[in-house]
Amino acid sequence: MAVESLARIDQLLEPSSGALLRRRIFGHAGFLIGVAIIAAILAVALLAPVLAPYDPYDQDLSRRLINPVWFADGSWAHPLGTDQLGRDYLSRLIYGARISLLIGTVAATISGLIGIGLGLAAGYFGGRVDMVVTFIITTRLAMPVVLVALAVVALAGGSLHVVILVLGLLLWDRFAVVTRSTTMQVRALDYVAAARATGCSTLRIILAEILPNIMNALIVVATLEVAQAILLEAALSFLGLGVQPPLPSWGLMVAEGKEYMFFSPWVITIPGIALFTLVLAINLLGDGLRDLTAPENRS
């Protein structure tokens, strides 16, 4: 039933009066802003070696915690100042974009494969298969994600690969829930019956008839999951059991700056705003995609 009520929340996310309203408020401006921000962050991540003024790992203890340029004692030599080890903050922020984007996309791909696979099986075959998959989803929902992820990362060692894998293996629940409910709706439609009548194989029906028709919903879930993975990685790294130093993960930067936050709040404000902006942009993109791709909204 937990699965059912979650499906209900996700249906509310589907085009409804709320989504239409959101479109009116943010218009497609929201979508455009989202795309623009993501494109900018992606460009920054790809061009990091060109854009970063310094090596993000270069320490200089004589230049620790220099204030950013908007302070009276700041200078353009370090536009965002330096961290507690004298590393250029702007350069670390720029390289940090790579980590967030990488983790978000790869983890969401892994969880997408698992979740969509399970959801398709449950939605198409129904009956016992559905019972088993629903049970698996319920079990997954009952597991405290953060705690389990922290424990596994602690034991397996906090490398980038481990963090990505752990997130990918844990965050497939929404994919499964949405795929299951949308597949059930589509399976009852005439064109699926027609495909079955003309003798298409099960695999063909699933891949050629069902999957393309639930793709819109899945793309929206994918954006949500990328955002979720980025936030969770940041939280794990913040707690010290995610990406390990000296990698410039934004979550790790907040953790490292925490000690100094009462004297130099910008140390944690800057990476936090970067995270917030990226996740907000991904969510705006998701909302926009949903509005744009839903046929009933094309007017």
Binding site: L21, I25, F135, A142, L147, V152, L275
Partner: protein
């Protein structure tokens, strides 16, 4: 209703057992527990000694059955680190996490329900827009960062609230806001959608036509029905709050179960971690079971499915 209750209870039990099996295997298979326990400076002989002393040389199935047999009786073994019973360590911390969860839930509901109702009454108004903006922004805020920002604002600049620790009710205010914020968008959307649906229904028109006063119609007739799905989701959300409290408790050094979990992970104290995972999962399972039964009780159509 009885058959439905029995079936759901059985599934819930099965879920709890499966979670315990999975988390037990994960903790044993994702690294060498004996190595973590013995510490980085241990010799190979030390590691073997540790492995023997804690029974880690046994096959994993034997270890699990051993653990589960005791766990059923409420005996989660002793902490590797403190040599005291795991259960008593958790029992002293559980009330803190529960209080935090309840406060977070209350905060989320107190903000979300009125906003949802107002948004439904005046679609497209500034309240509706405010509600929408709050939920779009809220979903993008990293929880730990939001918590730190609250700390800087209320703890340092305004000096209204204590920054960390456990003790007075004031210690719970910021953590509850930081945790509860995440449940808000879902509650708000559900209330808004539920209210709009109910307000368009025939019995509300009848109530209005009878000449009942607007507040009576809104609160006695509409909200009561619109809020049913919110109650069910609130139970599930409470379970998520308990699981998510680990981040917030760590930020505020609030000595709850989540913080204990994090500390135990860094001390390689896995009997404690294992027990916490099982307890949090069990609470979630019980809550969703109650939500299911409540739903079925309120809406007989569900019982058939």
């Amino acid at each position: 209703m009885l058959a439905f209750t029995l079936k759901r209870t059985l599934v819930a039990l099965l879920v709890a057992v499966t979670v315990s099996v999975i988390s037990f295997s994960l903790l044993r298979l994702s690294g060498d527990l004996a190595q973590s326990l013995a510490g980085p400076s241990a010799t190979a002989a030390d590691v073997i000694a540790v492995r023997k002393a804690y029974g880690l040389d046994q096959p994993i199935a034997v270890q699990y059955i051993d653990w589960a047999r005791k766990a059923v009786r409420g005996d989660f073994g002793d902490s590797f680190f403190f040599k005291e019973p795991v259960w008593s360590m958790i029992a002293t911390r559980l009330p803190v996490t529960m209080t935090l969860g309840v406060c977070a839930l209350i905060f989320a509901l107190v903000i979300a329900i009125p906003l949802g109702v107002l948004a439904a009454l005046r679609p497209n108004s500034w309240v509706d827009r405010l509600a929408l903006t709050l939920s779009v922004f809220g979903q993008a805020l990293p929880s730990f960062w939001f918590a730190l920002m609250l700390m800087i604002l209320f703890g340092l600049k305004l000096r209204w609230l204590p920054i960390s620790g456990t003790g007075t009710w004031q210690h719970y205010v910021m953590p509850a806001i930081a945790l509860g914020y995440y449940g808000m968008p879902a509650f708000m959307r559900l209330t808004r959608a539920g209210m709009m649906e109910v307000l368009a229904s025939d019995y509300i028109r009848t109530a209005r036509a009878k000449g009942l006063r607007t507040p009576t119609v809104l609160f006695k007739h509409a909200l009561r029905n619109a809020i049913i799905p919110v109650v069910a989701v609130a139970a599930v959300q409470f379970g998520f709050f308990l699981g998510g409290s680990i981040v917030i408790e760590s930020v505020f050094a609030l000595h709850g179960v989540g913080y204990l979990g994090l500390e135990s992970i860094s001390r390689a104290d896995f009997p404690v971690v294992q027990a916490i995972v099982l307890i949090l999962a069990s609470i979630y399972v019980v809550l969703t079971l109650l939500a299911d039964l409540l739903n079925a009780f309120l809406d007989p159509r569900i019982r058939v499915a």
